[in-house]
Structure formats: structure tokens, C-alpha cells
Symmetry: C2
Subunit: 419 residues, 2 copies
């Protein structure tokens, strides 16, 4: 009897996580002689715990074809970190029961650091139980903070969005700066690592080009130095463009976005580092400021995905089936990058799950210039490689045509489970 596959999406979604799903599905459909059913977990590992399994064969082929060009997590994602099973086996036993009942012999988990940790724990638990299952982690995160892999699918597309948006908004503020707005601030994601903020730097070719200031979470925020640099840019170039990572912290180690904003009723105000920076400039310098917070717009911007990124995400999905066919598990697939004669080449590799779980890759020191507010050439080259090429979705009625899956789950065979 052929074993079934369980695939699920986990953690914060990306513009190309569905491209990985599309790769899994396309390769699976060509290998039905080897595999039984392909089940997708509804809302990540929750789908396993709740026995909510989507049978991919019940979805229409035309909608599945759109999956590669669709942002978000088409099957639902979740933020749920499993405990150590040596402390509490409960959830693991439930997953074991569900997988056994549905003859699941392949586990593909598509996510970031926490998700690789989950994959690793499940792999170890099933080994303990002598249940043969091939566990493969598929990397995904816009934060680009997984180790071993040269980069994470998702990052390249968001980087392309940020580079493009920064360039466009810079042209806008430059036009307005003579009589109106002189400073523009763009807040981007990245709680702990400055990869996304760094992406804005690729558009700078010479002194004076925007962005004039990048604020990385790796560098402590210094208000005095910041204001000096803003003033300098406005005096020299007429305007100043700032790209700030949401995760920048002040000298006391507090997030700037948590710096005590309160509304008129005294309720503390949620997040947003851009309005805080805007306030700092307004209080100290007499410049009109505009600010934007990209938030989910950046993370979902499939309309301006990087071709390289889509290709890598899709290929990872295809490769998971190739590895599964050979029963190579307990691994996370990786992107291996090589540069020969300045041409960027990449291929799919793998690493043991133990090597990746719970390690966060920050921006290397030599990627940030000594002034603390610009990226180096090495960083520029690294990011530039990952934003090459466009992969436009098809459009209908003036906006992109994205997959609309039914996501009906199959009939349950087990009793319901309380998390």
C-alpha cells in the first residue's frame, strides 16, 4: 500500500509559499505510482492535530494552476510551536494517531525557524516510535533568517518590493521637497534581523541617492546621530529618505515602536516605528514628514515577485518529492548558491534538521557600512542576485487572478481532539 503525504504551511506567510505548494503538487501528480494521497493540513500542524486534511485531488485543476502565482497561504497557516515531547507527549501522540490512521508516511512542513523545529521534533518522535516517516522541512521566510540555506524563499520577492517601493516613493518626495515634504520614512518588517531594511539599499548607486538612512535592528538607535544625518541629507540633497526596520531598539534595549504612545483616553498605542521617528523629526527639526508602514502589503506583494525567488520556491516543492521518493528525511532542503564569473547560480541541497532548528541568521557585520546606516557592496550583491527577474501574475478585471481553493477537509476517522 502506497504511503500518503502530509504537507502544510506554517508561520508568517510569504508571496511565494504557495509556489512551493504548487511544486509539491505538480511533482506529486507526476508520481502517483509512488505515492498515495496528497493531504494538505488546514492551518499548518493544526490540520494534523484536528484531523483537518484537505485532499488535493478534490480541488479543481484550474485553481491549482493559479497557486504558483498566489500570495498568502492558500491552505491556512498557524503560529503554534510544539513543546518538547520529552516533557509532554500529548500533541505528538495525537499527530501519531492521525498520521497512522491516514497512512501518512511523508511529512513536508513549509515554514521558518519554529516550523523547522516542529519538523525536527516530529521526525525524532516518530523515530522513537519506530514509525517510518520521511520528514522534510521546506524553508520559507521573508526575514531570511534561517541558517545553512544561502537564502530563504520569500525574501527575494519582498526585497524586490521594498527596493522598488523605496525608489518610487523617493522620486515622489524629491518632487515635493522644494515647498512641502522633505522627509519620507518607510517602515519595513524584520523584528530581529535587518535583511529587509537592507534590501532598500540596492537602489543606491552613488552618494546622494536614496535611501539616505537605513535603520537596522542590528544597530542601536542613536537619536542625536539620526537627527544629524537627516539634517545633512536635507541640506545636501534637498530631501531625506529613511527605511526603518520595525525592530530597531534604543540605547535601553527597548523597541522604539513601544516607546509609550498613548491615545487621548490613555490607551497605549500599538506599534509602528515610522510614526515614532516622524515625531522625533518633527519635535527637533522643522521638516514636513511623510511616513508609510508597509506591513502585510510587503509580505503579500505577489504582483511584484522576484522571478528567481518564485523559481527557487517552486523548485523546493518539486525537490521535496524527489527526496521523498528516495526516502531521504530528517532534513531541511536548502538553496545552495555559487557565483562563477560574477554569474549567480543556485541549486537545491539539504541539511540535517538538527543544524537549523532555532538558529537565527542576522545580517553579517560586513553587510553594514561603518556609518551604520548604509549597506556594503557585498550586501548589495547578495540581495541583488535574489531580486532578479519579474514573474507577473495573470490579471482579470484589472487586478491579479489568485487561486480560490475550496479547502474542504475529508471525513474524520478519529474522535475530536482538544488542544
Amino acid at each position: 500500500m502506497k504511503g500518503n503525504i502530509f504537507y502544510a504551511q506554517s508561520g508568517g506567510v510569504t508571496p511565494v509559499i504557495n509556489a512551493t505548494a504548487a511544486g509539491v503538487i505538480d511533482a506529486y501528480q507526476k508520481n502517483k505510482n509512488v505515492f498515495g494521497k496528497l493531504y494538505v493540513g488546514k492551518n499548518g500542524i493544526l490540520g494534523a492535530l484536528k484531523e483537518e486534511l484537505i485532499d488535493i485531488s478534490k480541488e479543481s485543476q484550474s485553481e491549482l494552476k493559479l497557486l504558483k502565482q498566489t500570495p498568502g497561504g492558500a491552505f491556512g497557516s498557524c503560529r503554534l510551536k510544539l513543546n518538547d515531547f520529552k516533557k509532554s507527549e500529548k500533541n505528538f501522540i495525537r499527530i501519531y494517531d492521525v498520521f497512522k490512521k491516514h497512512n501518512i508516511r511523508y511529512f513536508f512542513y513549509n515554514g521558518g525557524g519554529d516550523s523547522q523545529d516542529t519538523t525536527n521534533k516530529i521526525s525524532k518522535f516518530f523515530k522513537d516510535k519506530n514509525y517510518p516517516i520521511t520528514c522534510i522541512g521546506l524553508p520559507k521566510t521573508i526575514d531570511n533568517d534561517l541558517p545553512i540555506t544561502a537564502n530563504c524563499p520569500g525574501f527575494g520577492s519582498v526585497a524586490k518590493y521594498i527596493a522598488t517601493s523605496t525608489l518610487e516613493a523617493s522620486l515622489d518626495v524629491k518632487s515635493m521637497s522644494e515647498t512641502s515634504t522633505k522627509v519620507f520614512i518607510l517602515e519595513v518588517m524584520g523584528r530581529h534581523a535587518g535583511w529587509l531594511a537592507a534590501a532598500a539599499g540596492v537602489i543606491k548607486n552613488k552618494a546622494g541617492d536614496p535611501p539616505h538612512i537605513i535603520l537596522f535592528p542590528e544597530i542601536k538607535f542613536n537619536e542625536k546621530y539620526f537627527l544629524k544625518k537627516v539634517k545633512e541629507a536635507v541640506n545636501k540633497y534637498g530631501y531625506c529618505v529613511i527605511v526603518a526596520s520595525e525592530g530597531i531598539k534604543n540605547g535601553k534595549g527597548q523597541f522604539l515602536s513601544d516607546s509609550g504612545l498613548k491615545d487621548s483616553l490613555g490607551h497605549s498605542q500599538l506599534g509602528g516605528v515610522a510614526p515614532v521617528l516622524s515625531s522625533i523629526i518633527n519635535t527637533n527639526l522643522d521638516y514636513k514628514v511623510h511616513w508609510a508602514v508597509a506591513d502585510y502589503l510587503q509580505r503579500a506583494a505577489r504582483h511584484i515577485a522576484s522571478k528567481i525567488d518564485v523559481d527557487q520556491a517552486y523548485k523546493l516543492g518539486l525537490s521535496s518529492i524527489a527526496y521523498a521518493k528516495k526516502n531521504i528525511g530528517d532534513i531541511m532542503l536548502t538553496i545552495k548558491a555559487t557565483t562563477s564569473k560574477s554569474k549567480y547560480n543556485w541549486s537545491i541541497g539539504s541539511t540535517k534538521l538538527d543544524n537549523v532548528a532555532n538558529i537565527e541568521k542576522k545580517l553579517p557585520t560586513n553587510y553594514i557600512r561603518a556609518n551604520g546606516i548604509e549597506i556594503t557592496k557585498t550586501c548589495n550583491k547578495y540581495i541583488s542576485n535574489l531580486i532578479q527577474g519579474e514573474d507577473y501574475p495573470s490579471y482579470h478585471d484589472g487586478y491579479p487572478k489568485y487561486a480560490n481553493l475550496k479547502c474542504n477537509t475529508i471525513k474524520k476517522k478519529l474522535k475530536s481532539y482538544k488542544l
Copy 2:
């Protein structure tokens, strides 16, 4: 002696105002037998006042070719409203002196309501002085609030950006909603008119589709009703997507974005209605909220411009030269729209400047549904027509290739002028 042309860009810029400039330049280059020089004012009408004139023949043809695909105002814009010349003639006399000295016989001013007012005043002043000059206003504003013209160039592209971004972010929050973020808020521009907020509504095809709530500046914000609708959407669909116009006001007529946010030092906090709405939800409902403020990103998003919009903006530029050749002035060019057999057709028309100056076109009452938070089919159709087709810029190194003009000004012939 052939008369020279003065063209300038004014007010808040758009993704396609340079497409209009490109139309002017392309048509001018084919009509050098009729016209003398084409001068572009640096920073709008300031270029006339300061005698800062850019001679278009000094720019490289390859950069000028990129103009049509470049956002922002490539020659600089300004926010400067001229007084009534019956009260103070000073600025008008200066413009008269500059135009006379440089033999300027055609005045094309590319802007929104204030700019049409400026064009009108200049037209009247020069008529009073018996100086023959053909004054043509070229419409432009993402706010779509000019009267007579069926729509304003700039609006369609920003509408396409907002529709697409709302759809994409909706797919993101939908994936996360089971265990994490349940509400997403997108703040869009529109201080007085809800055209841009309405644009998000085109992606809704059936009940349950996002956006679930649109907040228009035309409708008074009612906190209780708002919270009820947020709760309803989360209960029914698992998540709630809100698109809010920056200009929404509470029952007292105050902007919600000015609702008294203060930082820890007591400095009042600048704008942003999205964080205020997020705070209202957090205080009253136990949902995780994400919010984005698109700000200049929307206004500069040339990478996802509407083809119809680019075509109209460009054609307006071409037409200005055709009208000027016939010496038809004292007008603003318009877009005339006709729909035959549900096919949208458009052409260029004109109207007397007196008809447009200082009139603001708000969203018609029959464009907002009775529930106050959705658009009607009529509105959907109107906006849908304006976002059709894609007009991608060319890319270089992974980001769009935008024009980089020298914008050197010619030698001054007059003494400097104090504004």
C-alpha cells in the same frame, strides 16, 4: 518668431503625471515648425517666478524615453496657490516679465484643483494685459476630485494599486486568522473624497469577500457601528479587512487621525488613522490587528500602473499641443467617457477653466451602499473601467528603470526675485 511653451507640474504628484509630460514632449518634438522652445518650470509655477527654466532639448533622448514609465514629478512640483491678482499683482507681474522675456506664448499647467485655479488666474491676468498666451490646464490628481472631467489621470493607477494590495493583504490575513492576526487595516489617501478607499471595493464579488469594511470620509465615523461590523466579519468569515480613508472624521467633525495621540514626552503624534482604528479594536475587542499605511507608496506605484490611466495621461499631453496649435486656451482638458454595449470608451475633451477652479468632486451618494461601508455596483463599474490593463516599466538590476533627468536650468535674463 515662434512662441515658446512653458509646461510645469504642480501639487501632489502621481504615478502618471510624467506620462503627461512625455505626451507634451513627444508631440512638441513633432511640431517644432510651429513652436519655439519647450521650457519646463522647475518645481511648478516656482520655475516661472524664479526664472528657473529647463530647456527640454538639453535632456538626453534616452532618459526622456523613460519619462512615460517614471513616477513622481520629474521636473519637481510645488504646493503654491497664487493670490487673487486683484488683491496683489506682484507674483503675476513677475510671471508676466519672465514669460515676456522668454517669449512664452503657451502655458500648460499640470495639476489638481489649486493648479487649475492658478491656470485660470494667469489666463485672466494675461488677457487683462493684452498679452496673447494660450493657457491650458492639464488635469492630474490621484484624488479624482476634479469636476467636469469623467476622471483624473493618476486615480486609475492608484486605484489599481489599492485594489491589488487589498486583495493580497487579505489573502495574507486570511491564512493567519486561525491562530494569529484576525483584522487587517489599510489606510489610503483621500482627505475629503473617498474615491481611493472605494477602489478597494472592486475586488469584492460576493458577501464575505474582502474588504469587509470601507471607511469613507463622506460618512461620519461611528465607533459602535464600526466595532459591531468588525465583530460580525470575524465571527462569520474568520477575519476582517478594513480599508480606511485618511480623512474620516468622528461625530464632532474632527479627523480621527488627529485624535490626540501623544508620545511619552507629551508631543502630539502626527497622523495615521490606521493606528487609531487599531487601538479602538484592541481596546474593545480581543483581536490581533495588523495595519498598513500606504502613503507615498500608493501615489508613486508606477510598477503597477493601469494601462488605461497611462494612455489617458499620455494622450492629454499630446492633445495639449494639438489645442495649442489651434490657439484654443483658457481651458482645462478633460477625459470624456462613453459606455456603449458595456464597452468603455474615452476621448479627450475640454472645458472652460471657470468651470473647474475650486470645485471638489466627492463620491456620489449612489456610489456608497446604504450600509455606509461598501460600494455599489455603479461605483464598482466606474472604477473597474479605470484600472484595466497593465503597463509595466522596464527593469534593470531587479528594480524599475526610471528616468534620471539633469534638470539644469537655462541662464537667467532677469534679476532674482524675492517671493
